[in-house]
């Protein structure tokens, strides 16, 4: 029997980065197939190729045995590939009915056939056994789980052959997750194939028939879910040896400078305790959505803390604003460089010096010359490739932009640096420069909290690694006492007991 969908030898590069280096993948009719891999293994890229958002550089796609080249998301959808994204893509002010038929309204000459639309929406919800969701209510008033059902109902309208679900349970409660599994069961009975992307392996074990593991842009194994063992899957996910070279700068740890006790934010984090010492590089590992960014933001005063205490240099300082945190020597590097970290239409000099203009000013008046000279010095020290301090930062490459964002913290003379994904989306050379810089800073006695989704860099750079899972900091140990396998197990949150019982 021909599989519903088959992908062979799919390759895709972005500039110098080879995101997919030959992926093969296949799913049968009515099958639920888990796509597993670490952050950055290429799962999202692969699914974007399948749903027409990216064009592959090489490889072949077949749908029901016929060659298939999705030109754009609309074409993919019309061919029967529906994608349900991690973030919901509903229009909150439109009604349930309008959302389900959005973009495929039954109409003649632009005039919507309302009774027909209502009928189609009702039928879609009924198929998912969720007739109780009211059709006239604005989607924004529904619960997240109900919204997800609406999203799936919308996917059903085109009579899809394959539905891709990207981390569908990351924002769901246990009960809602069960409901989603029931819905997936219904889809299977209809003969719809489901590609299920999730970090939560125990969910995949319950739900899926087979799985494919991606690692570094390659498919490294496909197997039957029922006979597979969890440790075996994790071994496939991790696979590689740590080969990248991380420069080591010797540094010694001093007194505790920053500590969190049972810190909780409004939704995330739920409970985080940690201590950071002078000259320490503390890595925070975890899956996307584990609450690492939220922890940093709350510590920095960007989001509200609802519980716990924060101590800075031995003094209780739970309540804080970004201004007061900067004043006490804490700097934050945002993970979102373009939307939060930088003022893209301003110059390098403006971006670099904005938190600490006073040494460059007299009586409130900024000395342009001094500002430019100061920027020039940092550009030389961090080897930023740019024309001049006056150049708009938007003209720089990602790596050089990131160096300027970090230089802002250095210019601020921050003693505690909260770095959120400092190497995301930048080239290898800039990455190495940032690792080297982090080592030097630690040697100078500065403390670094290093959040990253890329385990090898945490293992290569950090003195200590803490792991977060579902909003909780579950464990912190010296790096030498962790294995990559153990970190992933802790991050997935199935707990070491689960693994050992399966083993």
């Amino acid at each position: 029997m021909t599989p519903r969908l088959r992908m062979t030898g799919v390759r895709k590069a972005f500039g110098a980065t080879q995101a997919l280096r030959g992926v093969s993948f296949e799913i049968g009719r009515g099958e639920v197939h888990a796509l597993i891999g670490e952050n950055g293994a290429g799962k999202s890229t692969l699914m974007k190729v399948l749903s027409g958002a990216y064009q592959p550089d090489a490889g072949r796609l077949e749908l029901d045995g016929v060659a298939f080249t999705p030109e754009n998301p609309l074409h993919a959808r019309q061919s029967g590939i529906a994608m349900i994204y991690q973030e919901l893509t509903l229009a909150p002010d439109l009604s349930v009915e309008e959302n389900i038929l959005l973009g495929s309204e039954p109409a003649r000459f632009g005039w919507i056939n309302r009774p027909r639309r209502r009928e189609l929406a009702r039928r879609a919800l009924a198929e998912l056994h969720h007739e109780t969701i009211p059709l006239d209510v604005p989607v924004g008033l529904l619960t997240i789980a109900e919204q997800q059902v609406v999203e799936i109902a919308r996917a059903l309208i085109g009579d899809p052959k394959v539905i891709i679900m990207d981390e569908p349970t990351s924002s769901l409660t246990q009960v809602d997750t069960e409901n989603l599994f029931a819905v997936i069961g219904k889809l299977r009975q209809r003969g719809v194939s489901v590609v299920y992307i999730s970090h939560f392996l125990e969910e995949c074990q319950r739900l899926c028939h087979r799985f494919t593991v991606l690692r570094d842009g390659e498919s490294v194994g496909t197997s039957d879910m029922r006979t597979a063992q969890l440790p075996e899957i994790i071994r496939l996910m991790v696979g590689r040896e740590i080969t990248e070279i991380y420069p080591q700068t010797p540094h010694t740890l001093g007194a505790t400078v920053f500590s969190l006790k049972n810190v909780a934010g409004e939704t995330k984090p739920r409970s985080v305790s940690l201590t950071l010492r002078a000259g320490e590089i503390l890595g925070v590992a975890g899956l996307i959505g584990a609450g690492r960014t939220e922890t940093l933001r709350a510590c920095f005063g960007l989001d509200r803390l609802i519980a716990g205490t924060v101590e800075v240099f031995g003094r209780e300082a739970t309540r804080g604003t970004p201004t007061s945190r900067l004043d006490s020597g804490i700097g934050l590097l945002s993970e979102n460089r373009k939307e939060e970290g930088l003022m893209l239409n301003r110059s390098l000099a403006d971006n670099l010096t904005v938190t600490r203009l006073s040494p460059l000013a007299r009586g409130g008046f900024i000395n342009r010359r001094a500002q430019q000279d100061c920027t020039q010095r940092w550009m030389e020290r961090l080897e930023v490739r740019a024309q001049s301090p006056a150049q708009p930062i938007s003209e720089l490459s990602g790596g050089n932009q990131q160096k300027i964002a970090i230089a802002r913290l250095l210019h601020h003379e921050a003693k505690i640096l909260l770095l959120d994904e400092p190497t995301r989306g930048i080239d290898v050379g800039s990455k190495a420069a940032i690792y080297r810089l982090i080592g030097q800073l630690a040697a100078e006695g500065k403390s670094i909290l290093f959040v990253s989704s890329y385990l090898p860099e945490l293992l290569g750079v950090c003195d200590t690694i803490a792991v977060m899972s579902r909003g909780v900091l579950v464990e912190s140990r010296p790096t030498t006492q962790w294995t990559e396998h153990e970190i992933i197990t802790a991050a997935i949150g199935s707990g070491s007991n689960d693994v050992s019982t399966h083993a």
């Binding site: 920095f300 960007l302 604003t321 970004p322 201004t323 945190r325 900067l326 004043d327 934050l332 945002s334 939307e339 939060e340 970290g341 930088l342 003022m343 893209l344 239409n345 301003r346 403006d350 904005v354 938190t355 203009l357 006073s358 000013a361 409130g364 008046f365 900024i366 342009r368 024309q387 001049s388 150049q391 003209e395 720089l396 490459s397 802002r408």
Partner: protein, 358 residues
Amino acid sequence: MSSSPQRSRSRKLLSALGPFFGLILVTTLFMAMLALKDVADQMEKEKDTLQGFSGWQQAMKSSPYDGLKAFTSIANFKTVLSQTVIVSIGALGMTMIIVSGGIDLSVGSVVALTSVLGATLLNKGWGTASAVIVTVLAGSAIGLLNGTLIAGLRLMPFIVTLGMMGVGRGLAKWVAGNQTVNYPIESPISNLMKMDDLDHLLPLPQGVWVALGLAVVMSVVIRQTIFGRYIFAIGSNEATARLCGVRVPLQKVLIYAIAGIFFGCAGLMQLTRLTQGDPSGAVGLELDIIAAVVIGGASLSGGSGSILGSMIGALIIQALRNGSSLMNWPTFTQEIIIGIVIILAVGLDRYRQSRAKT
């Protein structure tokens, strides 16, 4: 992504000079049109003798070029300058607000209110200095209120200032008892726009000096001070500004309050110009001011703009008005032309930016 330093520098120069070119273009166009009109008038006047192409050539020689001379005369230049004073002082405050990503629609009402207030105080026998200070502070108080509502309650600037537009207008009418308020003609306030010597550039009217002085101060403030750079930071990316420790709410309150000082000054200039306080005057002034700032190269989404640009923008609008009236065009034509110029200016700016990105 990367471009040669020369190109980037010339681009920057071009964008800084853009409004200048606009001003030169507008005046040149009007000079050409007025000259043509003068020649045509001459032909019309002596249509018995002047006919055809040779007649046209004759007319070109014999025309007195009254229209062109009127436009290029020093007296007219001084008039245009003094007529620009109100819009340009208002534009000083508005530039700050727009650069920070905000907007203020209440300016016309604030100008009416402060002019009426100034006239009333002078009438009551207040000294000039104290009347001026109180009037300007009243403008600032409205700005402070706007800023507090916007930053404190996180309301949209458009909505808050739209509401304040009505409130200010109502207050003005209340203070004035719903009629115009005369004030003592011997007050120094009434001399701010007086032109002593129409044949020479100097002395300029005092009001023009005031506007120039304030413009220089503001230009330095927004370019060179920490306060000024924070305005750009907020308008460029509010999330980043917050991350960088800028006290965004406080800064916004200050921006609107300081802008209010300028709107109060503009109210005093209005008082001089009309020689009385008029509670129903200056309607729609805010739109002229916003137009001036936008023609001057500021982006309504915040993060860019300059005082020099806004000042030239104000001059461009006034030059259009002045030229159109010398052409004897009806006022509705002026309105249409100014509308088209605003759209053209912003359209050109977008086009240039989209070119610059690729």
